[in-house]
Structures are given as structure tokens and as C-alpha cells.
């Protein structure tokens, strides 16, 4: 059917149907949420960060395409046990590599949504949870936007 690599490889669909830590975390110490306004995908992440600055638990919830939800599941699985310094050093390119299949610029945005939310969540203690995502790292990739039409 396709000469291109299939972005919906088995590993991705497994995470989509049987995600790691989908749900809310009671007594989360840090949390953040953001949307992809172009397609309406949304991801919320709850974290429990220990006094040693390590992520003890990471949970996500949200709506969206296979790419956005499966990549969030993979990210949750990966970040537990990591230090905040390690999270800060975890780049967008590494997130795309963690996901696996090569994505077009438009679909990279789907994959990077949970990564953006995570990067903000580690700076967002639940006591003073910001409602907006203005402080999220703004990563721009090329390509036309799927959301616009004139």
C-alpha cells in the first residue's frame, strides 16, 4: 500500500490502545496542560517530584490523534526515575527519536505536544498552577498548518 514508512507501526498502536499511566495522579506535586489549537489535541500531565528532584510518577490524560496519545504514553514510561536536569536536557529531537517512525513536520507537532507539556510541568507546582501555556517552549517546525483554510 505504502512506499513510505508506516507511522502507525505496531509499537505505536500498542501504546495507543494500552497506554502507560493514562489517568490522573492524586497528590501530584506538579501539573500542566496544553492544546494544539490547530487540531484540538490536548494533553494534561501530572507529576510527583521527590525532594531529590527526581520524577517518582508521571501520568497523562487528554484527547487527540494516535501520534499525540501514543507519544505521551511513551514519554510517561521514559521519564519516571529521571532527574529534572535530565528532563531539561531531553530535547525535541530525542522525543521524536523516542517515538520512532519518521514524522512529517505537521505530525511532529502532534508528537511534541506531550514533550512541551512536560517541559512546562516541571516548572509548575500544583499550588500555583498556571492556566495558560504562555511559558511553554515555543517550537516551530515548517510546513503548512492543517488548521487553516481560506
Amino acid at each position: 500500500m505504502s512506499s513510505e514508512q508506516d507511522i502507525y507501526e505496531e509499537h505505536v498502536l500498542d501504546h495507543y490502545e494500552d497506554p502507560y499511566h493514562r489517568g490522573d495522579l492524586e497528590r501530584a506535586t506538579h501539573a500542566h496542560q496544553a492544546d494544539n489549537p490547530l487540531c484540538g489535541d490536548s494533553i494534561h500531565i501530572d507529576l510527583k517530584i521527590g525532594s531529590d528532584e527526581k520524577i517518582i510518577e508521571a501520568w497523562f490524560s487528554g484527547d487527540g490523534c494516535v501520534i499525540s496519545q501514543a507519544s505521551a504514553s511513551m514519554l510517561m514510561e521514559t521519564v519516571e526515575g529521571k532527574t529534572l536536569d535530565e528532563i531539561r536536557a531531553f530535547s525535541a529531537e530525542e522525543m521524536l527519536a523516542l517515538f520512532g517512525p519518521k514524522l512529517t513536520p505537521n505530525r511532529q507537532k502532534c508528537c511534541l505536544l506531550s514533550w512541551r507539556v512536560l517541559q512546562s510541568a516541571i516548572h509548575a507546582p500544583v499550588d500555583d498552577l498556571p492556566a495558560d501555556d504562555d511559558d511553554t517552549p515555543d517550537v516551530h517546525f515548517g510546513g503548512p498548518s492543517l488548521g487553516e483554510e481560506s
Partner: protein, 428 residues
């Protein structure tokens, strides 16, 4: 007179041969089935050649030079205006304003007629099914003037209730009712003439967004009687960067000029300017010359094919797609039945995101649109984050619709839950 009938296979083959782009494949190597026509259509050779002819034989700026090329360019440009006037049966060629698109046409009205006539106490009425292009300019006007914008809701069957429209006209007494002739998502057609008449009786001005109507059906502005009507070129086989504002002449005469610059003046001094006559008054700067000529070629192309038959053909394809999707369990059609719409079918599959549907359909060579289609208020109202849309045009075939339905079934199977378990990725 014979009733218009859909194109037969032989006729479709002939039409398709005039669109070179339809011969290509998608990135997956499968022949293209282009079902994203409500976003933008493709162009026939006659349009491409008309523009090429302009650029390679007689192009120069219009209305300015006293030389051969400028005279020829000006004549072709003004002839294009006449052809467009005939295309929508305008009472007067001076009522045809060339803009850069339907969006800029609406903005022109909001910034001139709106600023001149709308105050803090006034209401602009519209519908919940509008494209952002027919919402945001009015919100910007509200930002400048403090006016209110009221949205008419839609029924559960995705049609509008005349009685509800009349109640809104009477309750809010809007200065303007700006509405779409056909929704770009639901496909729902509105009874333009009837609503315009109801507004006329109450002294309410009307603006019709005909973006999804002008490419598909005969359009008679004198019969419809709307004060303003807008559409773009690229949804009707024409070039991008050109659109039309049709307005009643007396209204256009009273409106202040929009953009200032060359071409829109009759005289400029160091202390002020006097606007040019219609239509130049609203066409500041060098206009989209080759684009106007291309749009006229598109209008001629559509007329030659007979717009009655074009719309019949599209609706025939729409019916097959609509009924096919409704017969699939877990698939929901977002829109009325085919007899209430033109050639648009939007749908969602339970548990599958629109982007995944569109991506998978592309792997089958099928181009559809996924997302909110520039109608976020409508999607919010319908409690949907996104939908997938197939939209048909004169060159689409029954066979393409069959391929589309088959692919949708495959997509649904592929993404439906199968009891998968997450595993560690195999070491490579």
C-alpha cells in the same frame, strides 16, 4: 426542458483530461483521488493557459500606460469583470469589485460599510455555521464599535429553521445579517432568497458568503437581491489571490473608500484626495491582473459545462458517499441528508481522530480535509474537536467515491481496539 443529469463516464473522462494535476500520484505511490475541493479546487488547462497567455503576450499594468501592452492588458482585465458580472447576473459591471479573496471582500465591507453604519447599540446577525472569515471581521468591527454579534443556532438535523431566523430578525433587529449560502463543513444550504426577502421587509442589510455556492451552481444576484455577496477564485477552478465583492451600486457609492493608494483616486493634493468612481474606488494599488483574467477563464469553463449539471453531478457523488458512510456502524455523518446539501460530506469515526483518518486515507491516495475547517465555533457548538471532510467537484468520479468508502472501512478496522498490549520495543 430536460432535467439536468449527472455527467456520464465519457464526459467525466473528457473533463479530467483538462486537469493535468489529476494524473499524479500521492506520496504513497497510489493514484490521486482529490476530495478536498471545498478547501481549494484544481485548475483546467484553459485557466492555466489564459494566465500564461497574459504573461507571455500582453502583460502590463492596467489603467495607466498609454502604450500597446497596457491598452491590451486593460481591455482583458475589464473584459474579465464583464464575464464575472455575467457569471452572477449582476445588474451592473461596476458592482463587481476585484479583491484578493472572499476573506478580503468581507473585511472590505466590515471596514467601510461597517465602520460607517454600525454603532454600539447595533447588532450583526450571523449563523453558527460560518467560516471564520464571516465571523472574525465582525468581531473586529465589534471591537471598534461595541456592537453585538448574535449567532443563529442549527437544528439537530443540521438544517436551519426559518421560524428561528425570523424570530432572531424581529427580536434583535440587526443592521446586517451575514450568512453563508452553503456551510463548508455541514454542506447545509441556506434559503438565500427567502432570508434576503425577510431581511428586505425589515430594512436589514444582507451579506452572502457564496464561497461554497458560486463554484457549483447558477448564481443570479438580481434574483437573490442581497446587498453584498462574496466569493473567491480558487474554489472555482480559478487562481488564488483573487476574489469578488458584489454590492448593490447605491450602497457601494455611499461607502467610503477602503485601502488608500494609487488607482483608487480621481485627484490627490497635498491636503487630501477625492475617491475614484466605482469600481476603482475599492481597488487601490496594482490589481491581480493575470488572476482576474484566469478567473474569467474559469467562469467561462464552468458555464460551458453547465452549472446545473455540475451541481447535479456533485450531489450524485455526495449521495453515494453520504449513504455509504451512514451505513457503516460507528461512523457518524456531520451534516444533513444529501438532498439538503451540495457536494460536501463531513464525518467522524467513533474512537478515531480526524488526523489519523486523513493520514490513512492519504496512504490510499485520497485527499480529504481534517480538523476544524476554520469553523471553531461550529465545532464547539457540535461538541466536536475535529471532523473529516470529503468534498466533490465536477471532475470526481463514482469510482473515486467507491475507493473513498472502501478506505474509510479499512481505516475504521485498523484503528478499532483489538486488545493490544503495550510491550517494550524490540531491541534492534
Amino acid at each position: 426542458m430536460n432535467k439536468p443529469c449527472p455527467f456520464n463516464e465519457l464526459e467525466i473522462d473528457g473533463i479530467r483530461q483538462q486537469f493535468p494535476i489529476l494524473n499524479r500520484s500521492t506520496s504513497s505511490g497510489v493514484p490521486l483521488a482529490f476530495l478536498d475541493n471545498a478547501a481549494s479546487t484544481q485548475r483546467p488547462v484553459s485557466v492555466i493557459e489564459a494566465m500564461e497567455d497574459c504573461y507571455s503576450r500582453y502583460y502590463a499594468n492596467v489603467h495607466r500606460g498609454i502604450h500597446t501592452l497596457s491598452e491590451e492588458s486593460t481591455e482583458a482585465f475589464e473584459q474579465s469583470r464583464q464575464i464575472i458580472a455575467q457569471y452572477i447576473n449582476a445588474a451592473d459591471t461596476k458592482e463587481i469589485i476585484f479583491t484578493s479573496g472572499a476573506t478580503s471582500s468581507i473585511n472590505l465591507v466590515a471596514r467601510t460599510w461597517g465602520d460607517q453604519n454600525i454603532g454600539a447599540e447595533d447588532v450583526i446577525l450571523t449563523t453558527i455555521a460560518e467560516h471564520h472569515a464571516n465571523i472574525v471581521p465582525w468581531q473586529q468591527l465589534a471591537g471598534r464599535t461595541g456592537c453585538k454579534i448574535i449567532f443563529i443556532p442549527i437544528n439537530a438535523d443540521y438544517t436551519f429553521d426559518d421560524q428561528v431566523v425570523i424570530e432572531h430578525l424581529d427580536r434583535y433587529q440587526p443592521k446586517l445579517f451575514a450568512f453563508t449560502a452553503a456551510s463548508n463543513v455541514l454542506g447545509t444550504k441556506t434559503p438565500v432568497k427567502r432570508w434576503v426577502e425577510r431581511c428586505g421587509e425589515r430594512g436589514i442589510k444582507t451579506l452572502i458568503d457564496a464561497s461554497q455556492l458560486a463554484p457549483h451552481e447558477p448564481l443570479d444576484t438580481q434574483s437573490l437581491g442581497a446587498d453584498f455577496l462574496v466569493f473567491g477564485g480558487h474554489k472555482m477552478c480559478g487562481p488564488t489571490g483573487i476574489g469578488i465583492l458584489h454590492g448593490k451600486r447605491d450602497l457601494l457609492e455611499e461607502m467610503p473608500a477602503f485601502l488608500g493608494g494609487g488607482g483608487m483616486i480621481s485627484r490627490v493634493t497635498t491636503t487630501g484626495f477625492k475617491s475614484a468612481e466605482l469600481p476603482d474606488k475599492f481597488e487601490a494599488g496594482t490589481p491581480p491582473i493575470a488572476e482576474a483574467i484566469g478567473l474569467a477563464a474559469a467562469a467561462k469553463f464552468l458555464n460551458a459545462l453547465d452549472r446545473e449539471r455540475i451541481s447535479k453531478h456533485e450531489n450524485h457523488l455526495c449521495q453515494i458517499a453520504d449513504e455509504g458512510l451512514r451505513a457503516m456502524p460507528g461512523v457518524e455523518v456531520i451534516g444533513p441528508t444529501h438532498d439538503q446539501k451540495g457536494g460536501i460530506v463531513s464525518f467522524s469515526i467513533r474512537g478515531v481522530h480526524a488526523h489519523d483518518i486523513a493520514h490513512e486515507l492519504d496512504q490510499h491516495g485520497i485527499a480529504v480535509r481534517a480538523g476544524h475547517h476554520c469553523t471553531m465555533p461550529l465545532h464547539h457548538y457540535l461538541k466536536k474537536t475535529s471532523t473529516t471532510r470529503a468534498s466533490f467537484y465536477l471532475y470526481n468520479q463514482v469510482e473515486e467515491v467507491a475507493r473513498f468508502l472502501e478506505a474509510v472501512e479499512k481505516v475504521q478496522k485498523r484503528f478499532s481496539p483489538t486488545g493490544r498490549r503495550r510491550r517494550k520495543r524490540n531491541p534492534e
